[in-house]
Symmetry: C2
């Protein structure tokens, strides 16, 4: 087991009918900026539940944060924070709204002139404006971690950011929000959380017995609830399990003490930046080719995954690893997610070269758990995913 540090101070308030907790968690006298996305919260009743419990606070609103939270939009929200002397941020949404709120939490207290530096200077944010979240879309785990990914469309760039100062103070997780989520987003949540676990697990063994079993627990649980969720998302028990699995898949716990990969994410972000493909689907596109390309260096974990997750007991190690990769692809297909780039866009030729070029220009030296995958490797992996 590798040395590690773990601290996650976010307070999770899980279950139905907890919106009254907003007024016990947000300090009295706060000037709140309520942040949300495309406006679905005004149709599904969540907006009213939130506002009802914010009486007594001064509340400003900023809606319209898009999927892949866009820098230029967030800069408009930052103006509101400054002009209205906002002291507390409340994200009501999914990963994009929460990620955007994390950027704003950092930017609101940023002392430099240009907040874009937060995304380029690679420095963690140690103190941000306090914020809480009301999760409306389980998927990214952003409600219980301190990371975010921000897009700047004019540069076709998607950059990660984060830091110990960017944990939500609290997150209200109400499984009933799942009832009104469209099928496409449910599938995205399943694929996103499953791949989060894979990125923290499918590397090489370091005798971290419990971390491995926890990661496997989340994957087994997601596989178990996926068909239930896709069949009937209005079942409370199913919704609750879906939600808690997504949170635990990326709240920092299972990644501690073990090597992490994240190459699928690094490459996937490029597909979103270039073509606007849903984040979760970019991960599903790249999973099979990434694991096939790196089958030798990941062999031991692939075999463990084959045996413990998919119950594959026969065959040699190579056969087990290959079958497990195939099973993973079949899992994506079972929830209606296509796994080839050519199934998403017409002009896919040259994407590998484009991503290679972008990585080279950015001076990306090496990705993956060994830090050894070069831009040329990325080109090959992306090309295998056509």
């Amino acid at each position: 087991m590798n040395n590690f540090e773990f601290k996650n101070p976010t307070k999770i308030i899980f279950g139905k009918d907890n919106y009254a907790r907003l007024s016990t968690e947000i300090p009295k006298g706060s000037k709140i900026l309520l942040l949300f996305g495309g406006g679905s919260i005004k149709k599904n009743g969540i907006y009213e539940k939130v506002m009802k419990n914010l009486s007594g606070y001064e509340v400003e609103e900023f809606g319209g944060i898009p999927p892949n939270p866009e820098y230029s939009v967030l800069i408009q929200a930052l103006k509101v924070i400054k002009e209205k002397n906002i002291t507390y941020l409340l994200a009501v949404g999914g990963g994009s709204v929460i990620d955007g709120t994390k950027f704003l939490s950092s930017a609101a207290l940023y002392e430099g002139n240009n907040p874009w530096e937060i995304l380029t200077n690679k420095r963690p944010t140690l103190k941000g404006m306090p914020f809480g979240t009301v999760l409306t879309l389980p998927a990214t785990g952003s409600e219980m971690n301190s990371g975010a990914v921000i897009t700047r469309a004019e540069y076709k760039e998607k950059f990660p950011m984060g830091g110990a100062g960017l944990f939500p103070q609290f997150s209200i997780l109400d499984p009933e929000v799942v009832y009104s989520i469209p099928e496409r987003q449910l599938a995205n949540g399943l694929a996103d959380s499953f791949t989060h676990v894979l990125e923290q697990y499918m590397t090489y063994p370091v005798d971290a017995i419990l971390q491995d079993r926890f990661a496997e627990s989340i994957m087994l649980s997601i596989i178990e609830i996926a068909p239930r969720l896709m069949k009937n998302s209005k079942d409370y028990k199913t919704a609750a399990n879906f939600m808690w699995n997504c949170t635990m898949a990326l709240n920092g716990l299972i990644q501690k003490g073990v090597p992490n990969d994240w190459a699928i994410h690094v490459m996937g972000h490029e597909l979103t930046a270039l073509y606007g493909i849903d984040h979760a689907r970019t991960l599903a596109i790249l999973t099979e080719s990434h694991y096939c390309y790196n089958i030798e260096s990941k062999k031991e974990k692939l075999v463990q995954y084959a045996e413990r997750i998919w119950g594959i007991k026969n065959g040699d190690d190579n056969s087990k690893a290959k079958t497990a990769i195939q099973k993973t692809t079949e899992f994506f297909h079972s929830i209606g997610i296509k796994t080839k780039l050519s199934e998403y866009i017409e002009n896919y030729e040259g994407t590998g070269e484009e991503i290679e070029k972008r990585f080279e220009e950015r001076g990306l030296s090496g990705i993956g758990e060994h830090g050894k995958l070069t831009p040329k490797d990325a080109k090959k992996i992306v090309t295998m995913a056509y």
Copy 2:
């Protein structure tokens, strides 16, 4: 899944050679009271590693906190805190020293006249004197939770306490401390952590898929490392897995959203209070009789445990449940822990009646996940464990 709230702000610093972190985690200018137990830290080198990294702080020492931290001893430490104007507590020890430190953290800021009230008024401590820990004995999980159990020998009482204000600010977990732990304490750590998981798991199903799998992960891991640890506790990988499993077994995570039992602990505390039997061993004594006595109400989870933990696939549910209980007893035996009260004390007759009487005098209405086990039930369970 039941509604739940979860927050655990303790910073875990895990791995070898992390003692220098003491000076980054404890605020400059703190007046520290270093708390420890019987003095083994002065023999195994831990005391020197700690003190070396506390140069620059004013440090007072208080040693001699006994196993089952004793109220009258802690009151002496409280005097030191007041007289020396201590501002920060540092527990260097196992669960007893850390539990004692939690009591002191609460008592140091307690506004009443009699700190014994902290143990009798059932009110959670929301703010305590800040403290950190250096764990020297994996077992109780106290290094990453906000609970404690304090003994008062003159009353033969053992009472729980806790509250959101009693999480350690940080805990340094160095697996190398395991190398010098006596065999008896290693076995206690394994039995204690295993029973912690059982108490949070062996109740009735509420479709909390991930919580169940996480609990099972910890049990499977403990079963896997137990023979390795008992054979050679000087292997770093084994020590690290032992340590992290003990912490995760009782840091609050797996108990959220599911019913909890804790009857074995409530009864076990009495055996320690009456006879001074090691805490972990009182749990091992009571496990089999508790599960046999409650086999019907726990049947579904016992069967799941039988199948997933012990691989029992044949037989009807009753047979699976019984075999799983027997396997649990065999596990305790495999690490050298006896499971009958008569193997620990000579005059065991009447213990059931004594505990029934104590529970009745205390007005204990009902224990276990249904709150329905009466003092008479406790008498029967204890008697079955003779």
